[in-house]
């Protein structure tokens, strides 16, 4: 097993209590093109040693939300919806990585997607729509 965190990743200074509870999470790169990652530990798995869907969903909200924040110069925004597909199980010790992509931005909405990878293989994919508060 490779050492984690890799030297090119740094720990994210999480703010939301729920993210602090399930974290840590890590980042690489500059705002606007950040990559995000976490390591599956003993808290995140079910009784078969498989990563729980709830942790992936939380990490998707965390990482796509952080990307949305980067892309709006930290304007307040909320998730309107998230659509997800579970492609393959991840396991204890796996490093899950994502580089969120902005698909489209309007005055009021951001459309994002992310493919979540373990060892360069997609295990989970998510799209989400974010609303910039106060914009119509």
């Amino acid at each position: 097993m490779s050492a984690w965190p890799r030297p090119d990743f740094s720990e994210i200074d999480l703010v939301d209590p729920f993210e602090i509870h399930v974290g840590p999470a890590y980042q690489q790169g500059v705002p606007g093109s950040r990559r995000f990652a976490f390591r599956v530990d003993g808290r995140h798995v079910n009784r078969r040693g498989v990563l729980h869907g709830g942790m992936l969903l939380t990490f998707a909200d965390l990482s796509l939300g952080a990307a949305a924040w980067d892309m709006t110069d930290r304007a307040p925004c909320v998730t309107l919806g998230m659509q997800t597909q579970f492609l393959k199980p991840a396991r204890l010790g796996d490093i899950v990585e994502v580089q969120p992509h902005l698909m489209r931005r309007t005055r009021a909405l951001l459309f994002l997607r992310g493919d979540f990878m373990v060892d360069d293989e997609a295990i989970f994919t998510a799209t989400s729509v974010w609303k910039l508060l106060g914009q119509d």
């Binding site: 209590p17 399930v22 998230m82």
Partner: protein, 145 residues
């Protein structure tokens, strides 16, 4: 009878039982199964929003809401199919309104269709009669090799 947790919140209906037994569910839980509604057609699950479930905007974190939806719909898939295990294939969630600190958030799950291999489900998460989240999803029945 499964044992009830000691920190069972007041206002939880009689017959509630903890379902968060595995590591992650226990770590973010407790999550309870509540007695069925509508003559068994409605499966009900809930958690009480605590400090650890919050975001910095003062609402329940979307990740925990999706966690409840996933747990409630996975368990319902298992119950309805009789399978030992069901795997989430897809889950789509709309965040309709915020959950607040202290809310009992209840997931109301319905089976839309059940085939030999797939269970189609929908769920509504409500807090004090307010809809917080609506979800649809697909679960694959896992057949033992």
């Amino acid at each position: 009878m499964p044992s009830l947790t000691n920190d069972r919140p007041s206002g939880l209906p009689e017959g509630a039982e903890e379902v968060s037994v595995a590591a992650f569910a226990r770590y973010v839980g407790p999550i309870w199964r509540l007695p069925d509604g509508e003559d068994g057609a409605l499966k009900r699950y809930a958690f009480r929003v605590a400090e650890k479930h919050m975001n910095s905007a003062g609402s329940a974190h979307g990740g925990m809401l999706m966690m409840l939806a996933d747990t409630a719909m996975s368990q319902t898939s298992r119950l309805e199919s009789g399978a030992k295990s069901c795997a989430t294939v897809s889950l789509n969630c709309d965040f309709v309104g915020p959950g607040r600190l202290g809310d009992l958030i209840e997931a109301r799950v319905r089976v839309t269709r059940k085939s030999r291999t797939i269970v189609f489900l929908s769920a509504e998460l409500v807090a004090s009669g307010r809809v917080v989240l609506v979800a649809t999803g697909l679960w694959k029945i896992v057949f033992e090799p």
